[in-house]
Symmetry: C2
Subunit: 198 residues, 2 copies
Amino acid sequence: MTESESPKPYHHGHLREQLLAAGEQALGEMPVEQVSLREIARRAGVSHAAPKHHFPSLGHLLGEVAARGYTRFAGALAAAADAAPDQSPQSRLLAMGRAYLRFAESNAAAYQLMFGQREPMVMTPNLITASYAAWSQLLEAVTAIVGSARAQGAALHVWSSVHGLSTLKLSGRVPPEMPGHNLEEQMLQMMLAGLENQ
Amino acid sequence: MTESESPKPYHHGHLREQLLAAGEQALGEMPVEQVSLREIARRAGVSHAAPKHHFPSLGHLLGEVAARGYTRFAGALAAAADAAPDQSPQSRLLAMGRAYLRFAESNAAAYQLMFGQREPMVMTPNLITASYAAWSQLLEAVTAIVGSARAQGAALHVWSSVHGLSTLKLSGRVPPEMPGHNLEEQMLQMMLAGLENQ
DNA sequence: AGATATATTTTTACATTGTCAAGATTTAAT
DNA sequence: ATTAAATCTTGACAATGTAAAAATATATCT
């Protein structure tokens, strides 16, 4: 029972890690509903049943991939806020909003996995904590503007706005006659105005 | 039990209509991703390949079902606006917002089909016109508040808010410690405030 | 060390799914 | 009535996720 030296890799190496990487890679190259268990196994160079020992089901694998997505996501939001030109709470929140929209656009499949209803996805513990961390970040930024009493409702308002716009765009429901960038900025301003004038 | 029959033109009757009805029925009883072509055929009492002659693919069938969803949806919004206590533009818009949230909640699977990324869904002509009709309705309500110049951006703001909240709730991402009804009302108020103070 | 146990991967297999190609059968046309 | 067309069923195929059994590599123990 003496656990002596560092754990040596098994047959294939650290397959669990590679499966997660393959999942993220697949999300970058194909729509979310095409990211199947067998596709991920294929990319990792193993048989279609190999993941079974590391993830009890596809849903668990996707859950872990989504958790990683949330971590990247939270990092992007934090970086944007810290890089905001004027470091006022309003400026920081707007920066986060822009980063949010940019993330959803540049990581469409991952975003759809994280927020959509890809339906064999399991709410893994890692996923719960990672998504809660992202939410906390937004909550903090909003608290700096409206105070802690109204923070929850206000944060939900902010989140709904940017999430709603993101999903509408991703599903192609936004009439294309509206130029994208200007429109987003306009929406963020309304969102902020709603926060402050209520 | 098969005696007096009305004009039954074909083998089974008007199968196309029954398939659409079966699709809507299925959406009321199971999650959207379980609504398969074979499930719909089963409910209509025909073989799994029978739909082929009426719909070239599952995507087309789902598209038509979604179109019907949009028609019901637009009807609910219109009824709510016309039944608003105070018939001011603001009151009408708030009523529509509440109806929107209620529809998404009471018709979860249909809503997810209409707005989500159920991915073999085809943008059928009927679907395009029906969804555009719903959008026009919202646009009209918003125009009455902000004028036609800013209407498009404002309508997108409104839509994003209610759509974002709906999808967040449907995907179980709204922290449950917030009581639902009060929260929704709070969000609608912020949404309206953002419209007017910008 | 050699023997045995455990962990990992592959191979098969099965029930689903959507779509296609032939048949079969009912309705319409001539 | 015969023929043509439209409609439905049957059977097949390639995918999918999952499960069990077989194979293989690694770890543990004496």
